[in-house]
């Protein structure tokens, strides 16, 4: 219940400007909701629920000190400001491109048209226990997190991978941090199988030939193989 006293207090604190302009610097006087400090307010504005893929730790960090990373564009509702028709069209286009590339790849030995950005980035992805492989466009991804999210969408939720524009990310990443029963591995141009995430992204996309979502239990031998292949290269 709002007492008259409180209303009176509110009135005296907030001066109603009916045609009179207020000088600067009054911001500090009023107790603004959510506490002061520019970043503190931003931290409050963009709460953990805006960073679903990063978990609560990040949000706590951002609330407590300045210089915390800003939100990723793909994780905020209504941002970037593209109308829903265009958003839907882009998401559908991405899904269709994968389907198309999947169909096209069946006819092997087709010369790659370097002008077609769509085909060049597509690689095969298989998951242990799943009979049908999928295709993913590496050019449509900018980081390991991106890619892992797409793969999670593809295999765990049955939705075609999108490239982050719909902002519908709701689950934390698991493929990259070793905490789930699956890990993400890749075969490089030399035919070696490695754990994804060891090399910088740009290096990765030039050397990856195909991906495999492997059971963690089976991947234990990979670390050793990875070291082995590094040693081979060093020699």
């Amino acid at each position: 219940m709002i007492s008259e006293l409180e209303m009176g207090k509110a009135e005296s604190e907030l001066e109603l400007g009916l045609g009179l302009s207020l000088g600067g610097g009054t911001a500090a006087k009023i107790g603004k909701p959510g506490g002061g400090g520019a970043w503190g307010e931003r931290g409050r504005l963009l709460t953990a629920k805006d960073f679903p893929s990063v978990g609560s730790k990040r949000a706590a960090d951002s609330a407590s000190h300045a210089g915390a990373s800003p939100p990723r564009s793909s994780q905020v509702v209504g941002w970037p400001p593209i109308g829903s028709h265009r958003m839907n069209s882009l998401a559908a286009k991405s899904a269709r491109e994968e389907e198309e590339a999947g169909k096209k790849k069946v006819k092997d030995d087709e010369p790659k048209d370097v002008n077609k950005k769509v085909q060049v980035g597509f690689i095969k992805v298989n998951m242990d226990g799943v009979a049908i492989g999928r295709k993913v466009d590496l050019n449509a991804h900018s980081s390991y997190e991106n890619l892992a999210q797409t793969l999670e969408d593809m295999f765990f939720r049955g939705n075609p991978g999108t490239i982050g524009l719909t902002g519908q990310f709701t689950k934390p990443l698991r493929l990259l941090d070793g905490s789930s029963e699956f890990v993400l591995t890749y075969e490089d141009k030399e035919g070696d199988w490695m754990l994804v995430g060891d090399v910088p992204w740009r290096m990765f996309i030039t050397s990856v030939k195909r991906l495999r979502v492997m059971k963690t239990s089976e991947a234990n031998g990979l670390a050793a193989r990875h070291q082995e292949s590094n040693e081979r290269q060093r020699k």
Binding site: M1, I2, E6, M7, A10, E11, L14, E15, L16, G17, L18, G19, S21, L22, G24, G25, T26, A27, K29, I30, G31, K32, P33, G34, A38, E41, R42, L45, L46, P70, P71, R72, S73, S74, V76, V77, G78, W79, P80, P81, I82, G83, S84, H85, R86, L90, K93, R96, N115, K116, K117, V118, N139, A140, S142, S143, N146, I163, W201, R202
Partner: protein
Amino acid sequence: MDLRLPSKVLEHILSFVDSNEDRNSVSLVCKSWFETERRTRKRVIVRNCYAVTPEAVARRFPEMRSLTLKGKPHFADYNLVPDGWGGYAWPWIEAMAEKCPSLEELRLKRMVVTDECLEKIAASFKDFKVLVLTSCEGFSTDGLAAIAVACSNLRELELRECIVEDLGGDWLSYFPETLTSLVSLDFSCLDSEVKLSDLERLVSRSPNLKSLKLNRAVSLDALGSLLRLAPQLVELGTGSFSDKLDQEAVSKLSQAFSEMKELKSLSGLWDVLPEYIPLLYSVCPGLTSLNLSYATVQMPDLLELLTRCSNLQKLWVMDLIEDKGLEVVASSCKELRELRVFPSGAEGLNDTNVAMTEQGLVSVSEGCPNLESVLYFCVQFTNAAMVTIARNRPNLKCFRLCVMEPFAPDHKTQKPLDEGFKAIVERCKDLQRLSVSGLLTDKAFEYIGTHGKKLRMLSIAFAGDSDLMLHHLLSGCESLNKLEIRDCPFGDTALVANAAKLETMRSLWMSSCCVSFGACKLLSQKMPKLNVEVIDEHPLETRPDSSPVERIYIYRTLAGPRLDMPEFVWTIQKNPEIGVSHLAIK
């Protein structure tokens, strides 16, 4: 001696006054001019459907033939306005059906239009000619069938980016054989396939057809036969441009395009395959408007197309055009007035090697002397680029820059983008619309407040440091009409201190800012000519004055509180004490 101008003479004079802005001035001169003006106004535009009641409008303008209405706030386009907020067309259609049955044209934007609305239109307005729905929702293809079957003098039916419940393509078949008046048909936002033979028959019996925008489901093959039936088209939106055609079909299509001597505007081109782009070459030199924003044209095919479009005034394209492509635009499209570059998703946000940067826009600003309207989505920008653009193009009227990463600084200097936007508002003295983005401090808004004297619409997201920012804008921008803000640390002070300003504006939208419930109540109490709407999907059980509100939408109105608010919209009239409405007002 009676010095008054006889009303018949005044009426005659007023018949030459077309602009509503002028007519508004006329109506303020004196009572008799007000009366004469209102009785002769044919075209009525209401830019906020809640600013005035339908009955009041119908009463004032009994001879209305054309009504344009806008409903939801602009940020509804980006899903920031919850479903059910409002913007219903029904009360307007009902009132017009009763009081202005001679209504011929209805143009609605961001409104909820139901099948009942469409049926009512079909049944009530005997000479109905034009229906244009932009970003509307709430109806199905059944409603379209009702319009098609009943409006025997229909000239324009346009659905622009609407959300339609698509029950199939039958609706098109409801246009009677006797309908020959069609001038414009746009069903590009629908999914279902319409019956090609019905579409062909409709097109062949419409000699005045000037604008045809097909949906994606219309195949390339079908396009060929349609173009042969309507070579007089001025505006064409193709369907899907990707079927595999045999050589004969391709050459027939090429022939059909080359017969289209009047074509000025081209859009659609979904899934266009590179090998089909040459089909368009013959129409390029005549084009003044080209919308490739849904077309998957990439470099270098884009270049071939653009070098041929020497008369282009409006270009909408995706960032697949890259800096290189924009350089070609700068050298080939000297008549360009409006450029919009949309994100394709191909540019990774963390990419250090992006193909489209600020340089692309700089090139266009250098090469296109008539450029006055820009919408540019990009990954990064610099102050230096904006300074150059402003120097090149002081004639800019609309500058909407969307750096997609929130809080992104100048990527070369790491400084905020304050100086860049300062250059824009300082140099572009006629700037009417501005959208800012990237890392911005209060300084940017001080500059905007100081220089943006002609600014009417301003959009801000993820910017500023404090309340001072809002204060600069509200106290400095004299012409400010629409202000929309999201995720900025603005609180009560500036809002309350500039309350009087709000009555001079059409509307203010603030979401995810720091406005308190107490401030909303205060504004509501002191400013009776404003509707102060608090839109909270997750309100607290009890609402202390200091609690922040999720969204606030403030607009001036003569209609008082609206009666169709859902339960998540609070205004002071609903429940001033508790502050949380448990009853939806019907």
